[in-house]
Amino acid sequence: MTATYTLDAGEIRKLFPFFQPHPEMRSVVYLDNAATTQKPYAVIEAVSHFWAYQNANVHRGGHGAGAKASELYEAARARVAQFVNAREPAEIVFTRGTTEAINLVASSWGETFVKAGDEIIVTEMEHHANLLPWMRLAEKQGAHLKVWRITDDGRLNLEALDCLLTERTRLVAVSHVSNVLGTVNPVAEICQRAHASGALCLVDAAQSIAHMPVDVQAIDCDFLAFSGHKAYGPTGIGVLYAKRALLESMPPYQVGGGMVQMVRWERLVWSEPPAKFEAGTPPIGEAIGLHAALDFIDSIGRDAIERYEHELTEYALARLQEVPDLRLYGPIPDRAGIFAFTLGDIHPHDIATVLDTRDVAIRSGLHCAHPLGERLGGSTARASLAIYNDTQHIDALIDALHEVRRVFGQARV
């Protein structure tokens, strides 16, 4: 291979403790980044520093440490707003993750504005996080859930959307990048078409946020959700972006401390967004960790990340197609670095186990997208890339896949 790469992943791995030699740990080729990414020192240290020296509750304490914690927490919100190009920090609500962000929209916005006979459009490739809240909402409200089917090569056809949209459509829920197929969906065009028909659009950016520029104003989505832990940040922190006017119109999700201005027996006055949607003590250390994670991403540069991961994706696609009996799902070549595949009749779980014994970490199964799994014919094995992977990792995967074929050489059922 003589191709040159625009980024040195070996240098980036030095920024992660996970990739340093450790007496109690085996060195792993980590290709399960769509599930969660590893954490750089910078994130671990930011979180650790907060817990060690700055810990206090936010927006409450009559003391300096409380004020400092509040400042750090709000600085994290402002950083997220800047990262996704929101108009103001008040459009950013912190949640536990993508799942909670979408559940918040389904409960608060959905139960207020979606009426019996209305329609919600979801795509066939959605993760359960962007599917089950809408299935449940439709059932509760007596609304119709319409499924936007994918093409055989794993894409969404915009003309098919036009056929689904009607004046009763309230929302189109779509992932930016499929967590199984790696499809990069044209979310700006989808939002435009939804809006033209009077519907809103929610974008699940869990699989795109760490891998390409995500600009909520350019996309013009009404809601966008993502998780910190798939973007080099901590678990337990996620983001809901929503247009200010929508947040103003929505009732609270959970109620309790920190989201109310006045409580009398006969009257309640909720706080302004985003506080209105953040009942209880928020994940403060996790928000600070997310801030550090976004700084880490921007220190490399999102254009540089997208370019490098695209180069690595091209390499992976070429090498995967060398493996006999390997069937790759999703679009080729235009896609993100997520590769769902099967290998002859060998069950994906068996593939993952053999790879694990070769210290190559991938995922197998239905990837929390059961309807898509049905469409693809069952479970798949999935390898997924991040900024610290390189061609040697792909080579290790390919070698291990040949080993799988040797172990199961005769397997036929």
């Binding site: 069950h347 197998s364 199964g365 239905l366």
Partner: protein, 148 residues
């Protein structure tokens, strides 16, 4: 023997390639489904119970080599067993794949080959899928008063 060879013993691959007891029974029967939601494996067990014994058992479903081989072994092992014997066997198998006991070829036969699963904690659920379904099926048997 490497841990990988221990997991994928010839006996297991043989049950996977040529499953015993695959199919379904005509009614009357007890039917029990078992799912492993993360990997999409599913097993459907059909039991015919008479005079306090499992007279016949069949399985359908799809899944990895371990889950399918384990179900295949189950159909051979519990055929003709009393309900008490079946309960005891379930406990033995669960303990075996979790590494709590060693496999005894004398009493377990082919099932002893499942012992290799103990080195692969993420695969324990595959090996136990059919046995947990059997556990649930036996509850149905009791609820329907078929214990005698």
């Amino acid at each position: 023997m490497t841990t990988l060879n221990e997991l994928y013993q010839e006996i297991i691959l043989d049950h996977y390639r040529q499953p015993r007891g695959r199919g379904e029974l005509a009614p009357p029967k007890i039917t029990q489904e078992g799912f492993n939601p993360s990997c999409g494996d599913e097993i459907i067990l059909d039991l015919r119970v008479q005079d306090g014994r499992i007279q016949e058992v069949r399985f359908r479903g799809r899944g990895c080599s371990i889950s399918q081989a384990s179900a295949s072994m189950l159909t051979e092992a519990v055929q003709g067993k009393t309900l008490e014997e079946a309960h005891a066997l379930i406990q033995q198998v669960l303990a075996l794949v979790k590494g709590e006991t060693e496999g005894d070829i004398e009493t377990l036969g082919d099932i002893a080959a499942l012992a290799g699963v103990r080195h692969f904690p993420v695969r324990v659920k595959c090996a136990t899928l059919a046995w947990h379904a059997l556990e649930e099926a036996l509850k149905q048997v009791e609820q329907q008063g078929l214990t005698r």
